[in-house]
Symmetry: C2
Subunit: 254 residues, 2 copies
DNA sequence: CAGTTTCGTTAACACTGTTTACGGTAAACG
DNA sequence: CGTTTACCGTAAACAGTGTTAACGAAACTG
């Protein structure tokens, strides 16, 4: 018995369609530059506000819903760009995906903030669970895994890791497609976390605007961060080729 | 003639006191776990909401006001901790300040978000100016300058930098106490930007909770990021001593 | 003292999220 | 087939939010 049931009855299909409409209305709202509000979403659908409470328990759940879907469609966008490079060139794919992520974050800062800068309280397990299934997280983990399969860069052994971190890489809560990574190779997850932290950092800094606008426009801060990560990922030999790929992708932004 | 006038008349003193009271009320509100609202601040001061419009033009300006003051008092806190190490040991001071910044961000996530994750639109020059005078930015730049004075780590020459970045380091808009840095040494600002970007990244990731809570608790992600920056700052030889200082400071958080 | 600036008020508007009680309609069941 | 039940929407209301307008009193200024 599958855990996620595919909608069969007419009512279930209708309900599913309404969820899609909610997300669509929310995306329109964000694209118009307005901020996401439950009432505005309802109005745009031709409903009254309380009607939405048949679909989400509260405002936070609405935000999480559209954040999840936005993340999904944005990731699909980056993945499509990465697919311009062959499957046996995961390094190029990773670099391109990172650059796309950055360009997207700059062009849609409110969407970025909704997904990646939305505070998650320490005790809130429900919202953290949502993070665990985040599409972008799975996407980037998988790319790093593919890079490792090809380049075999070093990563810490399990007994080298801090005990608490060891637990975390063995039983991950964070978004990561780690099932197909052998348990003894889970030290790789530590590399993923560190690389993601670095990527997340620059992109957040640039997207929120806490940075000199000229530096953002130049793309040099982002570029330097990515270049610094080529060596730890075993891509030093490919450096020149990959920075060229990176620069090409960054140039598409302006 | 000084640009910032010291309040002389009775009215001006009164007005200044009211600003202080506004900030105090806002801080109380945040500490209580409520979110910052103009009406709530007014109510806590025994005023009606429209009265506050005699002091701030709109809500955003209120936010910026308390963000600026919060940044100032938080920085004072980190500086006091750094002062536990002698003035001729700027490396230890820098490490301690970074750790304090991180501990503060974890213990006061709403305050952190207010100051450092508050989106600044690309065109908004007024709010960007506020950023320029941010206390924490000046504080960290000055520390890195002091570290350089002692350890003389390498930094890019002006003609090695991207032209746009060169402009940015010569005429900085970002928060940085760069006046006393000789023009030919302004490449140092690039190191500052990169180091700040790295620090900002991990701390934002941890403070907003977009990370495995166990990893946050372990402090290893932050530790690794700081350790990676010892070498570029010419502190490789001092590595053992400084990581010990770092670990001691991190231990005070739990 | 008269005039003016400053600081606060009340009232109102247009929005938020959320709960309540109430219908109507469509699916499900005997 | 008819009856029942569950679902989906409504209107009304409450407690909030930021913001503007018109007005009054008190405090400084000539």
């Amino acid at each position: 018995m599958p855990h996620i049931r595919v909608p069969v009855t007419r009512r279930e299909r209708q309900r599913e369609a309404t969820y899609d409409e909610i997300v669509a209305a929310a995306e329109e709202l964000l694209d118009e530059g307005a901020d996401l509000s439950l009432r505005a979403v309802a109005a745009k659908m031709g409903l009254t506000a309380p009607a939405l409470y048949r679909y989400v328990a509260n405002y936070q759940e609405l935000v999480d819903l559209v954040a999840f879907e936005l993340d999904k469609s944005a990731t699909a966008q980056w993945a499509a760009a990465a697919d311009r490079y062959p499957a046996d060139d995961p390094a190029a794919r990773l670099v391109v995906a990172a650059a796309c992520f950055r360009n997207w974050a700059l062009s849609k800062p409110r969407q970025f903030a909704l997904i990646f800068a939305n505070p998650i309280a320490a005790g809130d397990t429900d919202r953290r669970d949502l993070l665990t299934v985040s599409t972008s997280g799975h996407f980037f983990t998988d790319l790093i895994w593919q890079v490792w399969e090809l380049y075999q860069f070093p990563f810490p052994a399990l007994d080298e890791l801090d005990p608490v971190v060891r637990e975390a890489v063995l039983e991950p809560l964070i978004p990561a497609k780690s099932e197909h990574i052998p348990i003894e190779d889970r030290g790789l997850m530590w590399i993923y976390m560190r690389a993601w932290s670095a990527l997340y950092g620059v992109v957040t800094l640039e997207s929120t605007g806490h940075c000199d606008p000229r530096v953002i426009a130049s793309g040099q801060l982002f570029r330097a961060t990515v270049v610094d990560w080529l060596e730890p990922l075993g891509l030093a030999a490919e450096g020149d080729r990959l920075t060229k790929v990176l620069d090409e992708e960054l140039a598409t932004a302006r």
